[in-house]
């Protein structure tokens, strides 16, 4: 039913993303789908990597490790932004089309009052793409 999953992740918070990663692995097994891990990172040095190239290298390693762990096809893609916090939604939305992903699985937080001002990231991806979106709540 689904051929390609897009799983947005932040390498700085992999622990918090564990539920989404698990869902992605389980469903990929079910549908024999390829999982593409996508990260948005700044072009300035950050906690995970000091250059965008280093980030890409780490994400590739992460994707490969997930593939080995779950016995699946994996890919990775790093999106560079000069203002990741502001551009995240838009970049993820574009990435869905570019990758040809048909299912997006992403971790999100519980609904809260602040969402009016600072909406959760998944909502924009759901309203602006044709892909199915699976929001995993922690």
């Amino acid at each position: 039913m689904y051929q390609k999953f897009m799983v947005p992740i932040d390498l700085a918070h992999v622990d918090a993303l564990e539920p989404a990663l698990q869902v992605a692995a389980d469903l990929a097994g079910l549908y024999q789908a390829t999982v593409c891990y996508v990260s948005v990172t700044a072009n300035t040095p950050g906690p995970v990597a000091r250059t965008p190239a280093e980030y890409a290298k780490k994400l590739t390693a992460f994707a490969r490790q997930q593939g080995i762990e779950h016995g699946q096809q994996t890919e990775s893609r790093v999106l560079i932004s000069h203002d990741p916090v502001a551009d995240l939604d838009e970049l993820l939305t574009q990435a869905v089309a570019e990758l040809g992903a048909d299912l997006v699985i992403m971790q999100t937080h519980l609904p809260r009052k602040l969402d009016v001002l600072l909406p959760a990231y998944g909502s924009k991806v759901a309203t602006h793409t044709n892909a199915s979106v699976f929001l995993v709540r922690s």
Partner: protein
């Protein structure tokens, strides 16, 4: 290294033998064990995510509150104290500021012509993040937009007047404010000297100050892999100690200067914009108007930073540049066109002819001018330099050092010359040719509008003038909030959004508190005083730039 257990089976291309993949193309990263954000506190009070450098954030916030409190409560006592500090600094250390300014210009010009100019920020293969228009609009809007609106007419006119009046002596000391020896009784020479002095204050020197900070930060962040905060400039001098208290202090000073520099400018700008509105539409120029202006500016700036650098700050800067260009073209076409166009080259020449004397740090007899104008300006530019420099650094990845310096130093300087010529020469011409002395007698903040009042469509152009003042403030305020947020987050540009909103709102709140409680001018004096420690930061920056560039691979 940041990682603990990364697999080294990457398919990602990286130079053989390199432990850490360099940025795009070749660059020499600094090897440090510091992990960006390692001293940060993360928490989610009330569902709002925070990611801040605990010490820098807490102490900066405490110092800010302390100064705000002291200024508001003990206004009568601190105002003379702050003013005296500023006057002592600009009076006794004028030579130091002027000398340092020359060092910055010479370094930048030297780098443009040297082979080091070929090195690219972000690695030899890095692509520029922004187009020339977007980049240029942002660096100009952040750098000095607002000042050009107010001093474009006022400063050439003031220097022209004092130069025309010539020196006056009292007990062997000069009491006049004319630049150099003035040009008593010679309107042509006085106009040339006035324009040269203005261009000196708005041309190469201020932009060299910004360029030094920006280049140092960009180099150490994009090529060396250190966090994007002011302390990184000190790595070649302090080594690993920059991650401790010496570094915290440098960052706190930067936050302090940026926050109060912006807040006082915001307050003063609001009073100027409301004076313009009163002049144009007869609106009451009271506290209510000013507070409403500050609230409006702050809200738009907040929206702008929520939208981010590309969709917010860049767009506003571009709108700004188009409006400013239209206003300048209007003045050139409707005003004395020929005089302005020939004046551009004459003024440029006058600048070249006068700059050695104007930039001379020692044995000046025009103390009022060199201390009250030049040294004050230098201290003021320098106190703004961490903010403007850091913002310019963030948007300049992918440019070569030469391209960067030409664009940050030469292009804005030429634009300033054209702007000052268009607005200043028109005002001087109104006085010299037609005897109109309205600009001469008008209050500082009204001179622009009085000058525009003599040209056709005055209502429209004055209104555009006010809009420009307001938008220039918004673009300074939003980029400033981003910078403070980055510094207080230990160099992370991707800290949660509520933090940047917090700083934008705080800035507006400080401006309102100072406006209502008084003390704007006093705190501005205090901010200018931070120019002294930052001059030292900049001199270290010069050393760091040279050292950093020399260690880069040259292709």
């Amino acid at each position: 290294m940041a990682s603990n257990s990364q697999h080294d089976e990457s398919e990602q291309a990286s130079a053989p033998g390199e432990r850490l993949p360099p940025p795009e193309g070749e660059a020499t990263l600094i090897d440090t064990d510091y992990v960006i954000g390692q001293d940060n506190l993360t928490a989610s009070p009330l569902g709002i995510n925070l990611d801040i450098h605990g010490k820098v954030f807490a102490v900066s916030a405490a110092i800010t509150l302390f100064f705000l409190f002291v200024t508001l409560v003990f206004q009568a006592q601190v105002e003379p104290l702050f003013n005296a500090t500023r006057d002592w600094l600009t009076g006794n250390l004028a030579w130091f500021f002027i000398l340092a300014g020359n060092v910055f210009v010479l370094l930048c010009v030297g780098l443009i012509v040297s082979p080091l100019g070929k090195i690219r920020i972000g690695g030899s293969e890095a692509d520029p993040d922004f187009s020339y228009t977007g980049w240029f609009a942002m660096l100009f809007a952040a750098g000095m937009g607002i000042g050009l609106m107010f001093y474009g007419v006022a400063e050439p006119m003031t220097h022209f007047e004092t130069a025309l009046a010539g020196p006056s002596l009292e007990n062997g000391m000069r009491t006049d404010w004319s630049p150099l020896g003035g040009a008593p009784g010679d309107p042509q020479a006085a106009a040339r000297l006035g324009m040269a002095a203005t261009i000196f204050h708005w041309g190469l020197h201020p932009w060299a100050i910004y360029a030094v900070v920006a280049l140092a930060l960009a180099l150490f962040s994009f090529n060396k892999g250190l966090p994007l905060t002011v302390r990184s400039i000190f790595y070649p001098v302090l080594g690993e100690r920059v991650w401790g208290w010496p570094g915290h202090l440098i960052d706190m000073l930067a936050v302090f200067a940026t926050l109060f520099g912006l807040a006082t400018s915001l307050g003063l700008g609001a009073s100027q914009a409301s004076a313009g509105l009163a002049h144009l539409f007869g609106m009451p120029a009271g506290n209510v108007t000013m507070v409403l202006l500050i609230i409006g500016i702050t809200l738009i700036a907040t929206l702008s930073i929520m939208l981010g650098v590309d969709k917010g700050v860049k767009r506003l800067s571009e709108i700004n540049m188009v409006l400013a260009a239209l206003l300048m073209l209007f003045v050139i076409i409707v005003g004395p066109t020929l005089l302005i166009l020939t004046g551009f080259f004459q003024n440029l020449w006058a600048y070249v002819a006068h700059v050695p004397a104007l930039a001379n740090p020692f044995f000046r007899d025009d103390a009022n001018f060199s201390q009250g104008w030049t040294a004050f300006y230098w201290a003021w530019w320098i106190s703004w330099s961490p903010f403007v420099g850091m913002f310019i650094a963030r948007i300049s990845r992918g440019r070569t050092v030469r391209e960067f310096l030409v664009s940050v130093l030469l292009v804005p300087s030429l634009v300033s010359v054209l702007w000052m010529t268009a607005f200043g020469a028109t005002a001087i011409d109104q006085f010299v040719s037609t005897g109109f002395d309205g600009v001469k007698t008008a209050a500082l903040e009204l001179k622009l509008f009085v000058m525009l009042g003599q040209l056709p469509l005055a209502e429209l152009t004055s209104f555009i003038g006010i809009v420009l003042v307001v938008v220039f403030f918004i673009t300074s305020s939003d980029s400033g909030s981003l910078v403070i947020d980055t510094i207080t987050a230990g160099g992370k540009v991707d800290a949660p959004k509520p933090q940047r909103v917090f700083w934008a709102l705080i800035e507006g709140a400080i401006a309102i508190a100072l406006l209502l409680g008084g003390g704007l001018v006093a705190l501005q004096a205090m901010t200018v005083s931070t120019g002294l420690p930052f001059t030292l930061v900049l001199l270290v920056g010069c050393f760091a730039i040279v050292k950093g560039l020399l260690s880069e691979p040259r292709g």
